[in-house]
């Protein structure tokens, strides 16, 4: 048996072993419940009291009273009451959830603060703050979902989840803009804020279990963007971060995409061949870690993009019909030597390049595997 064959066998053995010993979700939950019951006596559960705002009580009291004053005084008092009441309402609305009458005040207050923010950086921070609030709401809503929940309840959860993603996209866009305009110190400071808040959001929405996948994907995306910026600036000499820590972050991204590929195969979102295709990029990323972190991350990004495209395409890796008349005409003209023969028939194009299925491709892959495995 050659060394290459042995390594291949060991990998297959390992995969088989891990598949057979995978802990199920039920077991994980039961396991944690047991651990929690044992460690509970070591910590106090802090009950958060819901504080009733002084201003809410004041507003309620004033509203209940009849005022018999002169017109000017009355007008002034009404104005004061209006300002106080607005503040009280917004304050009281802070902990509300969609469906509560005060929720709209909360959203309106957030939008006002966002619009009044004086810089893109402030708006990015506002978006982060809003995303965190939506994350708290998301978890609270999910915890209320049960078999008696209506479609409206589910729609509300989806709405909040979409809001989180929208704000995260806003953060991503603003950070990318900052990267092109601001100095390294500001970019680094913003990167730290984003990373910390992404950890908080992950921690919060993870309580919701599988329902938070879209949000978590968006969080991962932002973290990749931030990491790519930091790595780029580090390699350009603009930053003086710990290379070891950056390397660790890149390696974590590689491990993550590797896990996602395995998961996608396990859930039959992609087949083994497609997984192999994506894994090429992952392996290349691994090799590049020691040479160039930015190139390694680029490979990770390619792998993620490929995984996304393949898993989400309706007809997975078989054939897709491309209807691009202009391009088609050009192609046909070129082939026919500009004889003016055109066709408007749709072109059937394989989403998996025919070259991939050929023997030559297989041989090429084997050589790449051999080259890589020598390095392990």
């Amino acid at each position: 048996m050659t060394e290459k064959e042995l390594i291949k066998n060991l990998k297959s053995y390992g995969k088989e072993f891990r598949n057979q010993t995978k802990i199920s979700e039920d077991q994980k939950k039961a396991g944690w419940d047991y651990i929690y019951s044992k460690i509970q006596e070591d910590f106090d559960v802090v009950q958060e009291k819901v504080k009733t705002s002084f201003f809410v009580r004041l507003a309620e009291n004033i509203a209940a009273q009849r005022l018999m004053l002169k017109p000017v005084a009355t007008f002034s008092l009404v104005l004061v009451l209006f300002v106080v009441f607005s503040f009280a309402t917004v304050n009281a609305s802070n902990n509300t959830l969609p469906g509560n009458p005060l929720y709209n005040f909360k959203i309106a207050a957030e939008k006002t603060r966002y619009i009044l923010a004086f810089s893109e950086e402030s708006r990015a921070k506002m978006s982060l703050d809003i995303a965190k609030r939506r994350a708290n709401e998301f978890t609270a809503l999910i915890s209320r979902i049960d078999s008696s929940s209506t479609q409206e309840n589910h729609n509300t959860v989806t709405y909040v989840s979409d809001q989180i993603k929208n704000h995260l996209t806003d953060v991503k866009d603003k950070f990318s803009k900052m990267n092109s305009e601001k100095n390294s110190k500001d970019v680094l400071a913003m990167a730290k804020v984003i990373n910390n808040d992404m950890d908080d959001i992950t921690e919060e929405v993870s309580k919701a279990g599988g329902g938070a996948k879209d949000v978590l994907d968006e969080v991962d995306d932002i973290k990749m963007v931030v990491l790519a910026v930091l790595v780029e600036r580090q390699e350009a000499g603009d930053l003086n971060l710990s290379k070891e820590e950056l390397e660790e972050e890149v390696v974590e991204q590689i491990a993550k995409i590797s896990g996602e590929v395995d998961q996608a195969v396990y859930e039959e979102d992609i087949n083994e061949e497609q997984a192999g295709l994506i894994s090429e990029n992952v392996q290349a990323a691994e090799v590049l870690v020691g040479e160039s972190l930015s190139e390694s991350l680029a490979k990770v990004k390619e792998a993620k993009g490929l995984l996304n495209d393949i898993s989400k395409s309706e007809v997975k890796g078989v054939e897709i019909v491309v209807e691009q008349e202009d391009m088609l005409e050009e192609v046909v003209e070129e082939e026919n030597g500009s004889e003016g023969v055109t066709s408007t028939e749709p072109v059937v194009q394989s989403a998996v390049d025919p070259f991939f299925a050929s023997e030559a491709w297989e041989l090429e892959q084997e050589e790449k595997v051999e080259e890589f495995e020598i390095k392990i």
Binding site: N9, G14, E16, T21, I39, F43, E248, E252, I376
Partner: protein, 189 residues
């Protein structure tokens, strides 16, 4: 999980006894710990029990100890190793065990005698892998087998293996290469 994140979580557990932070650690490491244990005990139930015990010990260690934990995965592995060793002693599978009643997590020094005793693994392997497993069990010295198992069965990175074995990463790569060569020679006999 990066070291920064690990330290942050350990700190939260230590200072605030935060169960949510500990849950993240539990979720991150439990599968790997289980992989380590299930290969060494006769049943999945016992493996599950030992796994849970690992994390209870980890919790107690973190909240009662101010010492900085440089390599959390290495600590968790040491705890698991100690518990497996205790298990062997309790089952009468080993004759002697140093400081059995007082396991010092800071100085793991245990030896298992007769480690090749017939402990049936809980995993029902396909026939094609049984020969590989038999030959892997024969592999000497022990660190060759260990490094192959850590790399291929538990799928740890070179960095993680270097933390567990307390060797530089480069040495781990060389060790792995030698281990594979040795295994290859055993299988070709």
């Amino acid at each position: 999980m990066t070291k920064m994140k690990e330290k942050k979580l350990v700190d939260k557990v230590r200072r605030k006894k935060d169960p949510e932070a500990f849950k993240i650690l539990y979720d991150t490491f439990q599968q790997k710990v289980y992989h380590k244990i299930v290969r060494r005990v006769p049943s999945t139930e016992e493996a599950e029990d030992l796994k849970q015990e690992v994390f209870l010990k980890l919790w107690n260690y973190i909240i009662s100890n101010d010492r900085e934990i440089e390599y959390l995965s290495a600590l968790i592995y040491k705890i698991a190793q100690n518990l497996i060793a205790e298990y062997y002693v309790n089952q009468g599978l080993v004759k002697t065990f140093k400081d059995k009643d007082k396991i010092d997590l800071d100085e793991v020094a245990w030896k298992i005698e007769d480690k090749k005793e017939n402990i049936e693994y809980a995993v029902n392997l396909k026939m094609e892998f049984r020969e590989l497993k038999i030959n892997l069990d024969k592999l000497e010295p022990e660190e060759y087998r260990q490094v192959i198992e850590l790399r291929f069965l538990e799928e740890l990175s070179h960095r993680e293996i270097s933390e567990i074995l307390d060797k530089p990463e480069g040495s781990v790569r060389v060790l792995l290469h030698r281990a594979i060569k040795k295994l290859q020679s055993i299988m070709d006999i």
